[in-house]
């Protein structure tokens, strides 16, 4: 390696590390500040509390997220719509992708076009009539309002992602299964699903993590306090309750992000690969 190349490499690494630190700082600052008293949080850039002044007392306060309920309650409520949402998305999107990727039938082009068009259509275009629909069938203020759609393959992005993945699997596999007497559904379940496992896991985990970020859905469709999910309760820290210790806000934010961060770091290989391949090829 020439000196010039070495200098280039140093410049690039310096840049990458600087950007990395800049991007990571808000999260590290959040974690560190969860262990700080008010006086130590602001007016400096430190991540760690000053020596000997760290405290864990704000985690207990943050765990009691609202005067009435703990964070466990809000997590439980969140899971009540997230788990069905994940199951519905995975099943319905896999079935739809299978039909589009593996069969030729009249109207297939139209179906695929609709999938792509709905990919670009913003959620808010459908929101008001869906609200009326849910009102008429009694789904308002139930968790079902936040997951019922997902059982009908409305997640076009995921349909598209699974189609892309399925196209890489040789067709001979399903053809030989069919010759052995497997029907379409058995071919899907016993031949394709095992190969699709990484993409199905990705779809499930992305649905979960994006669901953790969903704020507008709960805001519109849930109203009673016993149905409050984590996102709504966190918002309470902004308006409903008097929080005088900032450590409590940081501890609550930290605890609210733990599932997402944990999933991400244990499974990051999946996402990085699949985000890369779904977008990069089209």
């Amino acid at each position: 390696m020439s000196t010039k190349n070495k200098i280039n490499a140093v410049v690039r690494y310096t840049l990458l590390i600087a950007v990395g630190l800049l991007l990571a700082y808000p999260l590290f600052w959040m974690i560190g500040s969860a262990f700080k008293h008010n006086a130590d949080i602001f007016g400096n850039l430190n991540i760690l509390p000053p020596p000997g002044r760290g405290t864990t007392e704000y985690f207990a306060a943050a765990w009691q997220l609202s005067p009435r309920n703990t964070m466990a309650f809000y997590y439980w409520n969140t899971l009540q719509f997230l788990i069905p949402r994940v199951i519905g998305t995975v099943i319905s999107c896999t079935l739809t992708a299978y039909a589009i990727a593996r069969f030729s039938f009249p109207g297939k082009k139209i179906v695929f076009t609709i999938v792509i068009v709905t990919l670009l259509m913003p959620e808010l275009a459908f929101r008001i009539p869906i609200f009326m629909l849910y009102r008429d069938i009694g789904l308002l203020d139930t968790f079902a309002a936040l997951y019922i759609q997902e059982f009908f393959a409305v997640g076009s992005f995921f349909v598209f992602m699974i189609i892309q993945f399925m196209r890489t699997i040789p067709r001979e596999l399903d053809e030989s299964a069919q010759i052995d007497g497997c029907g379409p559904l058995r071919t899907l379940i016993f031949i394709l699903v095992p190969i699709l496992r990484p993409i199905i896991i990705t779809v499930g985990l992305l649905t979960f993590m994006w669901g953790m970020n969903d704020f507008q859905g709960p805001l519109i469709f849930l109203s009673s306090p016993e149905n409050r999910v984590l996102a709504l309760a966190l918002r309470g820290l902004l308006q409903d309750y008097d929080v005088t210790n900032f450590g409590q806000i940081f501890a609550a934010a930290f605890m609210a992000l733990i599932p997402t961060l944990a999933i991400f770091f244990t499974c990051s290989k999946f996402f990085v690969e699949s985000v890369t391949s779904s977008g990069g090829k089209e």
């Binding site: 690039r12 990458l16 950007v19 990395g20 991007l23 990571a24 808000p26 999260l27 600052w29 500040s33 602001f42 319905s92 739809t96 299978y98 039909a99 589009i100 593996r102 069969f103 030729s104 009249p106 709905t118 670009l120 259509m121 913003p122 959620e123 808010l124 275009a125 459908f126 008001i128 009539p129 609200f131 009326m132 759609q149 009908f152 409305v154 349909v159 010759i179 379409p184 559904l185 993590m209 970020n213 704020f215 507008q216 966190l234 820290l237 902004l238 900032f246 940081f250 609550a252 934010a253 609210a256 992000l257 991400f264 990051s268 996402f271 990085v272 985000v275 977008g279 990069g280 089209e282």
Partner: protein
């Protein structure tokens, strides 16, 4: 339908090809119900509502033609204020996200050790997306004594009221969006890694020339992905809700009262479904036209290799 080829096709395959398969239609039943019930029916109803003075509790007070549209366009200054706020966010946010994503992808595309670690770290902020917890952090980060102002004072600048000044509040939100460039960057990076290295073998040229080479050789090759990302980022910015609702609470003085929030307010706070639906349609028309312009202009700047 394809004609069966005369000689080379074996008998069982012929049989399969002749009849119209039932399986795909059965498999598509959930999707079909979903499209009808949650996409086509709502979009048509939404247009119907937009022509009526419709209130879900007080009921349908009749057909008003284009009155809702007329009112929004000519008698409701807040609508234009909101259009302005939305466009400001889109116009500054979209290029910032695209440029930082492309630049970082360009750097990561050099065969460096530890690239995987970096792309994972850069991806974390986008996975947190619109999480309310992120908004809580952002408020503190840009608070009057927060780290951002602390840095500015260390550099000898005056601290700024990032959340309460009309000039700066939009940028507090734009920075949040820029912080989340990771997923866009990954898509750029994948495209760059697909570019054949034989196109630029000369490894010894220096950084500045490499950058020019990137602009004149590599960038044209990945223009399909540039288009894909531009449309995505643009649409995402147009629909921004969480950050403005939570961090700046639409303010100050409606400087961050984005259209998505205004529609929400008229729909689900005031229950003026007619007005909210008309606003939705104006919004759809705007992004529809922009997307069409992008796609039709793409003939001139997007290079497809086939």
């Amino acid at each position: 339908m394809e004609q069966p080829k005369p000689s080379s096709v074996s008998v069982p395959l012929k049989k399969v090809k002749r009849k119209i398969p039932i399986a795909p239609f059965v498999l598509l039943i959930p999707w079909f119900i979903g499209i009808m019930l949650f996409r086509i029916y709502p979009i048509m109803m939404s247009f119907w509502y937009s022509l009526r003075d419709f209130h879900p509790i007080m009921g349908d007070r009749g057909f008003v033609g284009l009155d809702n549209y007329r009112w929004l366009l000519f008698d409701f200054p807040l609508f234009w204020r909101s259009v302005e706020a939305t466009f400001r966010y889109v116009v500054f946010g979209t290029p910032m996200v695209l440029a930082s994503a492309l630049f970082i992808a360009f750097i990561l595309n050099f065969k460096l050790k530890g690239v995987n670690l970096f792309r994972t770290i850069y991806y974390v902020p986008s996975i947190l997306g619109g999480n309310v917890a992120v908004s809580l952090i952002w408020i503190q980060l840009f608070g009057s004594n927060g780290p951002v102002n602390t840095i500015m004072m260390m550099m000898g600048m005056e601290p700024v009221s990032w959340l309460r000044s009309e000039a700066f509040a939009p940028f507090t939100l734009i920075f949040l969006s820029a912080w989340q460039f990771g997923s866009v960057m990954l898509i750029f990076l994948a495209a760059l890694q697909n570019v054949s290295p034989s196109l630029y073998e000369a490894a010894s040229i220096d950084g500045a020339r490499k950058f020019r080479q990137f602009i004149s050789i590599t960038l044209p090759i990945i223009t399909p992905v540039v288009l894909f990302n531009t449309v995505n980022v643009l649409l995402r910015h147009f629909q921004e809700f969480n950050s403005a609702f939570l961090i700046t609470d639409r303010g100050p003085n409606d400087a961050t009262n984005f259209l998505n929030i205004l529609i929400y307010e008229y729909a689900f706070r005031r229950f003026e479904f007619g007005v909210a639906s008309a606003m939705t349609w104006l919004f759809l028309a705007a992004i529809g036209i922009l997307t069409l312009i992008l796609f039709s202009s793409s003939k001139h700047w997007v290079h497809y290799n086939d």
